[in-house]
Structures are given as structure tokens and as C-alpha cells.
Symmetry: C2
Subunit: 758 residues, 2 copies
């Protein structure tokens, strides 16, 4: 079993959409869903990060651009359509180590022609605008004319599967017979963003060019070139398709001139050189991100899938884009950015690819204008980050959606899920703590911390009777409960956000006083505000059980119908219990970790006993209807000693998409679950956390079948390699490192090797 | 067995293209292939007669316009795609008597929803721009939201099945949310002809409107409206789709304004009223065209199919269009007009619908400018009608095609198949003989006869040695032999053309001397020319066998390898014999009737013995690789007493498309075979012919199983009804009629009834 490969051995067109998501190739700049060229079924997707458009859709969404994958094989007059053929063999394989998607099959057409096709496709990590495919085609029982069609399809829409919401976000502007190749430019409806796809075919064998005739055609929104060739039984022909994808979102010169130049450069470099460079970069990335699990092949492949897709979704070169909830892998959640990025994915990047982490946080800084606008339009001050953000940071959460029964329901998250503000503040502090990136904290980080604190200052309500600050009518992470008062996750993190704002403003005052003054002036803050902040921090209301051991998720939660989960499905996931006449929101059932989530994010703030009580209480009531939930419970479970469920939740998290256990992989990657998977391994099984003194701690526990677990992290500019086996822990560091292992303190000096017996 | 219906009981998407041809609905103005709305497979076709465009195709061709049939049913988020469903029942039925296409099926979707759909569709013969469909939809095992999508698809191309020739002939100009309904306008590339499709849905049940929400969308080249409704298990909902199709080829006002007005008028009239009027017109047409065959259900249905499709292909209201070789039923032969019209189809119209016959001949008159241009550009004089004609009468035969093995071959028919000129002359004389339409012969007919004769004058070559006129390097009806000299069919009909020109010029001189003089002046003719014509008529070379009994198809034909046909396939059609090392053109094998064709067209010019010898000689050598051939051999066979083969050939002719016996029904109707079918019945079994004195003769012979044969014809403004049974022949006439039956002369006076024992 190759532990780097995701394979599909049996073709069923009904699964095409799922595998398009799983086999997406992306480089952070763009993503191409893993569509099969030889089937018209599924939901092709080609996205460039940051290209959004609203048109007549409810809210702005990532644009599904013109499809450049178009490739047809015609055996004389018969098109090789895999859905019309008998398949003698079929295999698709994503080589995650190399970032290459392989497809091969033997198809027998209705007319009895048997043909073998082997393809590989990659989206370059070397040059982000390049992608390519290679086809090896062999007639197995005939000699004859074969036509190869290369086309770019501009008839693409978003939400193609949904007749009432299907939306076309662009107009096809130009078709080009571009010699070599073909090109098609589109322009988005609202902001006139142009995107160009340019592709061409090269066919060669031992005696050179194999193409006889070429025909260029324009069919409205589709541009095509067809090459005639002659193929001989048993002899393979190799065709390379070169692709260039560019947009004037990031490139300000003439698109077509630039595209043709880039295509020629690509062809001059050649397919083999480009793919080699691409593989070298992936090797380098794997060296940073891989988690090696010995003794558990399923876990090994599963965790790698999540690491691969996370790494594919991000691009350090653009600070105006972030990672959508569904990555660059589909149109679910409309390409919007949620707390998923900072709370679930960011830790992975902070510890493995800090330059990416910084770019993601820079996206928040660069959309502060939108966040301030959000605060203003909703009657508050400072910066209110959008629950769902797109290109400008404005709130773009849809106001309406459908419930489990398909009925229209008002969506309140954009109005009430305020905790996104603290989540971003959390990401900044986490990033700075691990990287010591002063330049960022001084120039961007503190500004965000102060402006989000300023928002909270305007948002909290002072309760005179109780002499406390409250936040009413919110939604916490658990979205089953809307319009609740004093959700602890929200209140606690608001308080924490203010605490950090106060800390860093004091720090900045000393570190860079001019900067400090400029910032206060820019944000309209002075000592009076800071005094209020202190008060809020001290008097924020945190509801708890009478004995103080169980945090009450929100005020009044304990008074709700206490329906416990007692049955589990074949995947060990909760089955909806009987509500006993209550509506869902009238019960204590949770969609996902909420109090538990808080305890994972701020582990040093809660005693082990408190964690244990809360874990046990809420775990019994959590339905895991969000893919964000299982990984979190695995972490908290391990922290409090529930090792049995931890592995189950870990496997659930890493197989979210591979086993489609939320039933919606069709619509894109569960990127937060991928981030949660990394956290579950590192924060959970390894038990990595930073204590109040800023010292790294590990406290590993491995499931019985795991022979070993090893990985690398970045910690304050050192690269730390940790390898855990049954009997020992080995640590290497490129810099001096202070590390607690099982609560015992170790000092590792530069490039020294530490071995600790387990 | 309903003898008016063509049925399909089993669905197989592979046959969709064939049934699209068979189920085409046309009214002469336009044709819509019988595509199934619920399948994406096949080759949709929507043609308006006379809209041609070349663009990048080899020659100008009839334009496959935007598709107005678009209709989708979505059960919640699941589209009813018949190719993805399990079918519990399926039936399509063309009711030829009413001109209505019925489709019904019960489909079970992948998600297990069972739905019954019953549709009817008609293209109005009442108002040519109207068409409509009615859907009755019943959920069989669910209640729920159903979305109904009405759309017009402008992403249509010609030759969609052929990757190297696929061509888009128009640009989508405008999409309209037209309240009611949607509209899409296209404009052809070359001549900027605009065509508009306008459609809307109405859904009503006992309590009125059933639609809840409507969504209008534009997707590039596609415009759509979706209606949301709620359907209940076991309850049927009826949705009517109204359509208007117009073009500025024939309508000079603002298309969209006119279209919306017409749609409103149509909806005011209502579906039920329009379909009733449509049926009444079809009843009237059937009263003119039907051939009733008692005792042979297969023959009865088969002949009616041909009559239905012929009548559907013609429109008396437009004198600038003719009937294409493939009708309005497909893109085969690119919508071009051949000799098929005058020689094969015209007799049907002359004798049943003479106003249509006149319109078809007027098309030739109205394209004389093109015919004169053809003569000029090829170095001749007068009018040279195009072997393949489109909108302007210019020669549009492709110069290149593919042979049986798929190799590119030069097509010479446009250069050498001169006989089209005499074929048109033949049509004019036949028309006049049967109708006495003096107005036509004076104003248009003679002009064509003279100008085609003038062409022949410039085309013939005088052989001094033999003192005879010859025509070298031609192709006759048998296209296996190219560049032949003195093809008798060509020479004989050229001579005949000249003879008729001389006759009618003399006639016109007396009838209308001013017209005569004007015509001579216009065409540049005088007595010197007429003297030359006389000489050509007298001295035209007609090669024959030494005993004079067998006409030699062309000079040297008897010297070719004499390969006879000895084996027949399961359909009793010839199997290619061994060529014994010769190329096809080096053998005496024929593609189709050639000498035999001549003898059918001019039966009075050849003795029965000569016909018999020639029939026997050529029948043995004819491969029937043209659908034009079997019907002709049935006629000649009956004339010479070969009754066995006659029935076989008749059935072959009438089932050309129904049994797809040429293997290319996918591409459209074999309209000439349809005309040949009528001729085979009337000229063959009835033995109807006009003798030299202009007297109508019948000489019926019926196959054993036929209990009777009855039909109507028009003869010199009388309507003649003839009914033949086993023992007698009954004749009715609305006017005085002289008629020979079995060579015995009868006079039938006005409205009298004649019965003759057999």
C-alpha cells in the first residue's frame, strides 16, 4: 500500500462530484476540481482565489471560471465518452507526494473500438499560472484516424446543480486562435475582472510531430482546436496539453499578450522540466508539513490527505486572499472565509508554514476597511470582521438558507456570530507567540487587536443590577441555539481579546512609542477607553453551574430540555434522539464543540478538572453536525484522559472527505476539518501546547497500534523535529529550545539531539 | 393496430438521433427534430427553411438555430434526466393524422422518486410561427417541491456530431425576460439574418395557477425561466408551453415586438383552440394526399409516413424556398435542394397539392439569377441550375467529401451532373400538363424552358466525323461513373428539354406574342438559335446496343467489366459482388436507376420491349446505394410485368427511414424516397400515366394481399377519386374526365360515378 496515494478503482458517474473535490489540484493561487475530461457528468470547477462576483446571486461568491480542461478523443466519428463506453479497467490516483493526478482506463466504445488512455495532470507549484496534462493514448484493436480536441468552455455557471440558484458570473469577452493554441477571456459582471485561459496541445512520437490537420473553431462561449492524427494498434501516442491561467485581478498588463508569452516560455521549458520543479517544491513542502504515523496505514494516508489539501489551498504570495471554508475545491459556502481559517487551519500553518500563516492574517489586515464598515453599518465601533468574508471583508453571509427539510429559513449567523472578531485576535496572538514576528505584530497585529477590542467595547452591555458586562442575543459556535444571551465562548473570548489588546498596547507603547501614538490617533483611542476595557475584562459575565465546575454554554442553557444522546450509527456517530416534543433549539443538544472549543483554544485558562467535567457533560450532548467538531473533542478528550473516543474522533476528522461522512464533499473540501486533523494529531496525540510562560510542552500518548509518530514544527525561528515511538521521544532543533516533556523541563541547545525514554 | 401512428416502445439513447428524424414536426416554414426534452443525447435540430449560412463550413448550409424545446423537471434538487433514470414505461408516438407527437414515460430517479410524464407537441399548420407542447406530470410516490425549467439554448451548432466540421452559424444577439416568457435572438454570421424564439409556460389546475416562484436567468448563450411548484402524490399537474418562432428573413418588422405580440395572441387563443385548428388543417391535407391500402397494415402505415413527411416539408406560402433532400428533418446534405425535388417529390405535389408544386417551381424561377451566374462562371450560356442549391441558386455542392472508407475524395457532381437542368424542365412540363396552369407557364415556365435550352445549346459538342451532338465528361444519375461521355439520361433529357423549349416557344408566340418577344429579347434568343436547337434535337447521340434494344448507359459502358449481382442480404438488397480486381467505376455496377430512370420519366418514349430488356439488364447491376433507386425499379418492373420485385422495392422505399435501411436516417428524412414511394404506389401499382395525347391512363395491379387501394388526384382542376378493389375500379371526378382504364377509354362527366369491373 502506497501511503502517499488516494485511489479510485471503480468508475461510477454518480460519484463524479465527490471525486472532483478529492482530486482537486490547487496551488493556493487557483484550484481546478478533479473533473474527468471524458465524462460530461459532475460539476467542473475552475477557481482563482479572490475572484468574486455577485450578479443575481444572493451574495457575492467565488466565480467558477471558464473550464480549460476540455479534451476529447474521437475515434473517427465516435467520441470517447466514458459514460457511453464499457470500461475494461479504470483507475484514478492522486499522488500527494508529487501533487500529480493520474487517470487511466481502457474503454470500449459502442462501435467496439478499444482504447487505452493514461493521463497525468498537475497544477504547478513552481509557476502558479501554469498547469499541464499529459495523455498517452493507445488503440488496442484498431488502426485509424483519431481526432484530438482541445477546448476551453466558457458556458460555465456557479451552482450548476441547483436550478433555482444557478448563476453565471461572467461574460465571454474574446476567443483567440492564438498560435499556438487557443484562448478564451471572460470578464466578471460586477467588477469587470478579466480571466484568461490559454491552452495548446503538442503531439510527438519518435519521428516527431504526429498531428496532420488542425481545425480552429469558435462555438459561442466555447473555443476549440481539433487535431487529426493516425493511430496504429498497440502503438502509444503522447499528447501534452500546456495551460496558462491568468487574471487581471493580480496582473495589470495586457492579459492576452502576457498569456501568450507565458505559454511560449512554458513550452520552451517543456513539460518534463516544469513537472520536475513542481515535484521538488512539493518535496520541500512535505518536509515541512508531513506527519508520519507508523503502524496505522489508514491513519497515515488520511492525515496526509488533509495536509496535502491544506497546503494546496494556500498561497503565501498574495496577502489579499484567504482560505475558504471549502478550499479551492468547490463552491460550497460560496468561497467565503469563516473563523475556520484562524481557529482551525491557521495553527497548521503557524507551526509548519509560517509565511502562509502571515499571508492569511494579512488578508484580515487588508480587509479591515470592510470590517470597520461592518461595525458602522450595524451601529458599533472599531472593526467587526464578517462572519463570512469575501474580497472586501464586508459581511456577505446569506440572509436566507434552507433547513434540513428544505424549507427556507432566515440565517442569523451574519447578524449574531460575533465571536469571529476574537477568533481573528486569537490567530494573531497564536502566530506571534510561535514566530516572534515583531514586524507583523507592530505594523498590523496590534492594530487588529485594538480595533476588535474597540468593537467589543461598543458591543458589550453593562448590567447595573448585577454589576457585570453581558453580551445578549448572539450565536456561539453551536448554531443550534440562536439569539442566546451571554454565550460563554463569545463572552470569554471577547474578554480575552480585550486583555490581549491591553497587553499589546502596553507592549507597543514601550516597543515603538511613535507607532503607538499614531495608532491611538488613527483608531481614536485614549486612556479613558483603556480604563473601560479594564472594567469589561474584569466584569465580563461567565455563567457557570452552581458548583462552578460546569460552564453554562449560555445563560439559561441548563434550563433547556436535557435530551442526551444514547444511540450511535454504524460510524459511531450520534443518532438524533427523540426531542420529546421540543424544537431543536429548546434542547441542550449541540451542533458542535462550543464550551469544549473554548477550552481547546485557551487550555491554560481552565483546570484539568473543569475540562473533564465539561468534556463529559457536553460530549454527551453534541451531535457533531459540523465537520469542525470531532477533531476538537479528540483533543479535549486526550487532555482529560478519554483515549478511546479520541482515536474515533481523529479518524472521523481525517476521513471527513475521504469517506464523505458529512455527505457534502461534492461541494468542496472541509478545510477546517483538515486543519482540525492536524490539531488533533499535534495538539491531541502529541499534546503540544504552550504554557503561560510561553514554554512549549508535549505530553504524547499514542494509540496502541501506532508504532511511532514524527513531525516537524517551527518554533520561534527554529525548526523542531519530534519523533515519538513506543519507548522514546527524540527531539532535534535548529536553535536553542526550552521544552517540557511530560511536565519535565529540557533544554536543547542548537543542533543537539535529545532522547527521552517513555 | 392504429394505421396512423408511428410508435416507439423502448428507449435506447443510442437511437435518439434516428427517432429525432422520424418524429420531426414540420410545417414547411420550419422543422423541429423530435428531440426528447429529458435526454441530452442525440442531435437537436431547429430549422427555418431558407436560412442558410456558410461561415467557416465548406459550403453554405441550412442553419441549426437556437433550440426552443428546453424543458426540465427538477424534483427538489434532482433533474429528471431519462438517461439517469430507471424507466418503468416509455412510449413515443407520432399521430400522423393529427400531426401531434406524444411522449409518455414513468421514470424512477436515482433517489427513488417515481414520476409520470405525458407530453404532446405540435408545430402548427394553422399559424406557421406557432408551436406548443403540453406536459402532464404526476408524482407517483412523493409530495414535494418540483421546479419546471423552460429554456432556449443558443449554444447550438451544425454538424454537432462531427468534430472536424462542427460549425456555429450565428451569434446570440439578445436574451429577453419578456413577461410572459423568455426570448433569445440570434443573427447569422454571413447575412445577418435574425431569428427569434420566444417561449413561456402556463401551469394550471382546478384552483388556478400552480406556480409559486419564478426565476429568470441568462447563462451566456442560454436563457431560462424556472417555476417552483408543489406537487402531490397521485395528482397530475398540466403545464402548457407556448412557442413563437420568427425570422427577419420573411418578417421585416421588429422581431421582438412582433414576437411578443404573437405570443400574447397565441395565449389568448389558447392551446386547445390552436391544436384544434391545426388538426382540421391536417384532416384537409390528408383528404388530398392519403393513399388507402386495405389488407396490408405495414404498407399502409409505411406509405402514410412518407406522405406525412412530404406534406410536412412543404409550404405553399413562400416561393423562395424548396424542399431539401433531407426535408426539414436534419442537416444531411446541408439542407441543399437537388433534382430530388423535381424528379422524385414534385409528382406527389402536382397530383395532390398543386399549389405547393407551383411554389416549388417558383423557387427555381426565383433563383434563375443564380443559375445564370452558374452558367457564366463555368463558361456557358443561359441558365445552369445548381446540382445543389441553397438560398440563391448558386452552385453549392461541396468540392470534397469522404468515400466509403472515410478517405477524402473530390466530389465532381457539382461540376458534371448537368441533368439537373432538364430535370427542372421536366418538372415544369409535368406540372403544366396536369394543372393547365397557363399563368405559370406563360410568366415563368417558358422562361425556364428557354433558358435551360440555351444552356444546352452552349454545352453540347458537335462531332463532325459522326455528324452528331454529344455531351462529354458528365455524371448521370448513377454516380459510380464520373467523367463519362454521352450519358443517355443526360443526352436524352437535354434533347427533350430542347424539344419542349421549341414547343412552348411556338405555343407562346401564338398565345401571347408580346410576352414571347419580350422573352426573346430578355434571353437574347432568335430564329438562328431555334434552328440550332432543331439540329441538336435531331442529331443528339444516344448510344445503344447493336440490336438497338438496350440503351448503353453511356458511351463505352458495355466495355466495362460486367460484374453481376448474385447475392442478397437478409433485406433482399444486393451484396457487393467481387470486383475481380477492378475499381468500382471500371465495372458495370450502378449506384441507382439511370437508364431505368429515364424510362420512368418518359414512359411514352420507349416501347414495352425496350423497357423490358433494359429493366432486366440494369436491374441485375444496380446496387441501390441511393434511396432514390428502389421505388423507380418498382415502377419500371410493374410496367414490364415484374410484379415480384415491385412489391419488394416498394416496401424498401416506404421503409427507407422507418427501418433506416440506408443507415443514415440520423441525418434527416429521405425526402426523395418519400416522393418515390408515392410514385411507386400511383405510377407503379395504379399504373397512372399520361399518354402522348395527354389522356390519363391507369392500369392497376395490386399485390395479392391488398384488398383495395384508393386515393385522390388533381387533374386539370378536377378532383379525381379512384378506388381499386379486387373486382372493380371506381372513379369519381368533380369535372369532366377522359380516362383510359386497362387501355379502354371512358368518359366521366361532371360528378358522375364510374365503376369498371376488373
Amino acid at each position: 500500500m502506497n501511503l502517499w496515494k488516494i485511489s479510485l478503482d471503480k468508475y461510477n458517474s454518480y460519484d463524479n462530484r465527490k471525486y472532483e473535490t478529492l482530486f482537486t489540484l490547487a496551488n493556493g493561487y487557483r484550484g481546478i476540481r478533479g473533473a474527468l475530461e471524458f465524462s460530461s457528468k459532475g460539476n467542473k470547477g475552475n477557481y482563482i482565489a479572490g475572484i468574486f462576483d455577485k450578479s443575481q446571486s444572493q451574495v457575492t461568491e467565488i466565480v467558477n471560471l471558464q473550464d480549460p480542461l476540455g479534451f476529447n478523443i474521437y475515434i473517427e466519428d465516435e467520441k470517447v465518452d466514458i459514460d457511453e463506453c464499457v470500461l475494461d479497467s479504470f483507475k484514478r490516483e492522486l499522488d500527494m507526494y508529487k501533487g500529480i493526478l493520474y487517470t487511466s482506463f481502457i474503454a470500449i466504445t459502442k462501435k467496439g473500438k478499444s482504447i487505452e488512455v493514461k493521463c497525468e495532470r498537475f497544477v504547478s507549484r513552481n509557476k502558479i499560472n501554469r498547469w499541464a496534462a499529459k495523455y498517452e493514448i493507445t488503440p488496442l484493436n484498431f488502426n485509424g484516424k483519431v481526432f484530438l480536441e482541445n477546448y476551453i468552455d466558457g458556458s460555465v455557471t456557479n451552482s450548476a446543480w441547483d436550478v433555482m440558484n444557478k448563476t453565471k458570473h461572467f461574460k465571454v469577452k474574446n476567443n483567440y486562435d492564438s498560435n499556438p493554441g487557443i484562448a478564451l477571456t471572460v470578464e466578471t459582471n460586477d467588477n469587470n475582472i478579466k480571466a484568461l485561459e490559454l491552452t495548446t496541445l503538442m503531439g510527438e512520437n519518435e519521428i516527431g510531430n504526429i498531428f496532420k490537420n488542425r481545425r480552429y473553431s469558435e462555438f459561442g462561449e466555447l473555443v476549440s482546436e481539433v487535431y487529426e492524427t493516425f493511430m496504429t494498434e498497440g502503438k502509444s501516442s503522447t499528447i501534452v496539453k500546456y495551460g496558462i491561467s491568468i487574471s487581471d485581478r493580480d496582473l495589470k498588463s495586457d492579459l492576452y499578450a502576457s498569456g501568450t508569452r507565458q505559454l511560449k516560455d512554458f513550452m520552451k521549458d517543456g513539460y518534463d522540466v516544469e513537472i520536475k520543479k513542481h515535484i521538488i517544491i512539493w518535496e520541500k513542502i512535505w518536509n515541512e508539513i508531513d506527519i508520519n504515523i507508523d503502524g496505522d496505514e489508514k491513519a497515515q494516508i488520511g492525515i496526509r490527505f488533509n495536509l496535502f489539501q491544506l497546503a494546496s489551498s494556500a498561497y503565501e504570495g498574495d496577502t489579499t486572499i484567504s482560505i475558504a471554508a471549502k478550499g479551492l475545491h468547490g463552491e460550497g459556502y460560496k468561497g467565503h472565509v469563516f473563523w475556520d481559517t484562524e481557529v482551525f487551519m491557521l495553527p497548521f500553518f503557524i507551526y509548519t508554514r509560517p509565511d502562509v500563516a502571515k499571508a492569511l492574517l494579512m488578508y484580515r489586515y487588508n480587509t479591515l476597511k470592510g470590517a470597520r464598515k461592518n461595525a458602522e453599518t450595524t451601529g458599533y465601533k472599531g472593526a467587526r470582521f464578517a462572519w463570512e468574508a469575501a474580497d472586501e471583508g464586508l459581511e456577505v453571509t446569506p440572509k436566507w438558507g434552507v433547513d434540513y427539510d428544505g424549507n427556507a429559513v432566515r440565517i442569523w449567523t451574519g447578524d449574531e456570530e460575533y465571536h469571529i472578531n476574537s477568533d481573528i485576535a486569537f490567530g494573531i496572538v497564536e502566530y506571534y507567540r510561535a514566530t516572534n514576528d515583531k514586524e507583523f505584530i507592530v505594523n498590523q497585529g496590534v492594530e487588529i487587536l485594538l480595533d476588535t477590542a474597540k468593537f467589543w467595547q461598543s458591543r458589550v452591555e453593562y448590567n447595573k443590577v448585577e454589576d457585570r458586562y453581558e453580551i445578549s442575543s448572539v450565536i456561539g459556535p453551536d448554531e443550534f441555539h440562536e439569539h442566546v444571551d451571554n454565550n460563554v465562548f463569545t463572552n470569554y473570548l471577547a474578554k480575552w481579546n480585550i486583555e490581549k489588546a491591553l497587553f499589546f498596547k502596553n507592549w507597543l507603547k514601550i516597543e515603538d512609542n511613535v507607532k503607538y501614538k499614531v495608532l491611538c490617533s488613527k483608531l481614536g483611542l485614549n486612556e479613558e477607553d483603556f480604563n473601560v476595557w479594564e472594567m469589561i475584562y474584569k466584569k465580563m459575565y461567565i455563567p457557570k453551574s452552581e458548583d462552578g465546575m460546569i460552564i453554562e454554554q449560555f445563560e439559561g442553557y441548563f434550563d433547556l430540555a436535557d435530551i442526551e444522546i444514547s444511540k450511535y450509527d454504524e460510524n459511531e456517530m450520534p443518532i438524533w434522539p427523540d426531542f420529546k416534543g421540543n424544537k431543536l433549539g429548546e434542547t441542550q443538544l449541540l451542533k458542535q464543540a462550543d464550551v469544549a472549543q473554548l477550552m481547546i483554544m485557551l487550555p491554560e485558562e481552565f483546570s484539568e478538572d473543569v475540562k473533564k467535567f465539561n468534556y463529559e457533560y457536553y460530549e454527551q450532548r453534541t451531535m457533531h453536525k459540523s465537520s469542525l467538531s470531532p477533531s476538537m473533542y479528540s483533543i479535549l478528550g486526550l487532555a482529560v484522559g478519554d483515549r478511546q473516543n479520541a482515536y474515533k474522533y481523529f479518524m472521523k476528522a481525517i476521513y471527513t472527505d475521504l469517506e464523505d461522512n458529512q455527505g457534502n464533499t461534492d461541494f468542496g473540501l472541509h478545510a477546517a476539518a483538515a486543519g482540525g486533523s492536524w490539531q488533533s494529531a499535534i495538539f491531541g496525540f502529541v499534546g503540544l501546547r504552550v504554557n503561560k510562560e510561553g514554554i512549549l510542552n508535549i505530553n504524547p500518548w499514542l494509540p496502541e497500534q501506532w508504532e511511532g509518530l514524527s513531525f516537524n514544527i517551527n518554533w520561534k525561528n527554529s525548526r523542531v523535529s519530534i519523533s515519538i515511538s513506543k519507548d522514546k521521544i527524540e527531539v532535534n532543533s535548529t536553535g536553542d529550545l526550552s521544552l517540557n516533556i511530560y511536565d519535565k523541563k529540557y533544554l536543547i541547545s542548537n543542533k543537539k539531539h535529545l532522547v527521552v525514554e517513555r
